[in-house]
């Protein structure tokens, strides 16, 4: 592992972490606002998080 690789991986992790964190936070806010829709929100949250995760992993392998 060289320095650019490590920095790149770090950036990817920061990006993906921010993205997933935002999704989770917004989902919680949404659930707090509409507890009756929590099932749908959770599903959408997981899908969105999974998509970001997928991109993140793809980038990690490229790095």
């Amino acid at each position: 592992m060289t320095i650019p690789n490590i920095v790149g991986a770090g950036l990817i992790v920061i990006g993906a972490g921010l993205g997933i964190g935002r999704i989770g936070g917004q989902a919680m806010e949404a659930i707090a606002r509409q507890p009756e829709a929590s099932g749908k929100i959770q599903t959408a949250m997981l899908i969105a998080a999974a998509l970001i995760e997928g991109i993140g992993f793809a980038a990690l392998f490229a790095a």
Partner: protein
Amino acid sequence: MRNSFFSKKIVAVIFLIAGFVSAQNHEGEEVETGAHDLKTEIKEYIDHHLLDSHDFNLYSYTTDTGEHKYVGFPLPVILWDNGLKVFSSSKLKHGEGVAEVDGSYYKLYHNKIYKTDAEGTINYGGHHGEETHTEDAFGENLVVDDSHPTNEKPLDFSITKNVVFIIAVALLMFLVFRSMAKRYQKSTMPKGLGRFLEPLVLFVRDEIAIPNIGEHKYKRYMSYLLTVFFFVWIINLLGLTPLGVNVTNNIAVTFALAIITYFITTFTGNKNYWKHIFWMPGVPVPMKIILAPIELLGTFIKPFSLMIRLYANITAGHVVLMSIIGLMFIFKNWIGSPLSFLLAFALSLLELLVAALQAYIFTMLSALYFGMAVEEDHH
């Protein structure tokens, strides 16, 4: 919870044994390179753990006389090399011997089988022997062995450890669900294990299939969704046991699962699905031409991300878990060991969740893709 606790202990014990063993095993090399410290050893052990194996070993040890003993049993090796060749993996002697079959010689090197001459010579391309010492980002010395054997590789269809576990899980699933199905013939109420499994089956149907595919078309996909959900889940859970198999951290396995999802999506896609890919309705013509290749690429990226996600999550979980257990052997003091133990314990609880979550997400996204493929035109 209890099981995981014990399993981690057992893994730790096995790790300990294996660590000592491999330390002695590599003694000869150490003289050569002089760089086999504990860290490298742990890294090697983790790498080894993540790989498939041609033998079914529970653990190995070295006798007082320096003899290397493996506890486990050999598995059949099946090669296609100008004809089918089947022999026991005990002939390969864990990479220490050369197997002679019908006048051809094979040797195991870094978990891959190569064709060799009678002496088992591995020819290396690149820089064998002159392992390049480079400095990594932290200024530490790294030993990089970038030698690549140039020997011919026969097509390897061996029943490896992972294949054994795939067979075992398949058999287990078949027996459990067959007996569950039989119970339903007697009464419509589930009994025994069915009481636990039926809610899961209903979960896949009501929470995954129906919302994503739709009330009318979900039935066609239920078999695949249920099979893949339970298969991935059970095999992920088995990866957490001290047996130390990680089937889903083989890219080949996740690739196979993803490609089935891809084929089902492609072959059940209706006119509307293809129209959305090649001639997106509701956008101007130049945009349609730009969108078509992007959408087409998207159909490949979707199963590709499925493959990478499952592989990477399980691999990452195992690497982190094993590294934290490895910390115990590096710190070797009263703070490090309990800390590493607690961390490993918490992490294995998390891994239990991840095992189920990844199965859920794989199934869920597959269902989502199927739903896209059969969606009716709303315009």
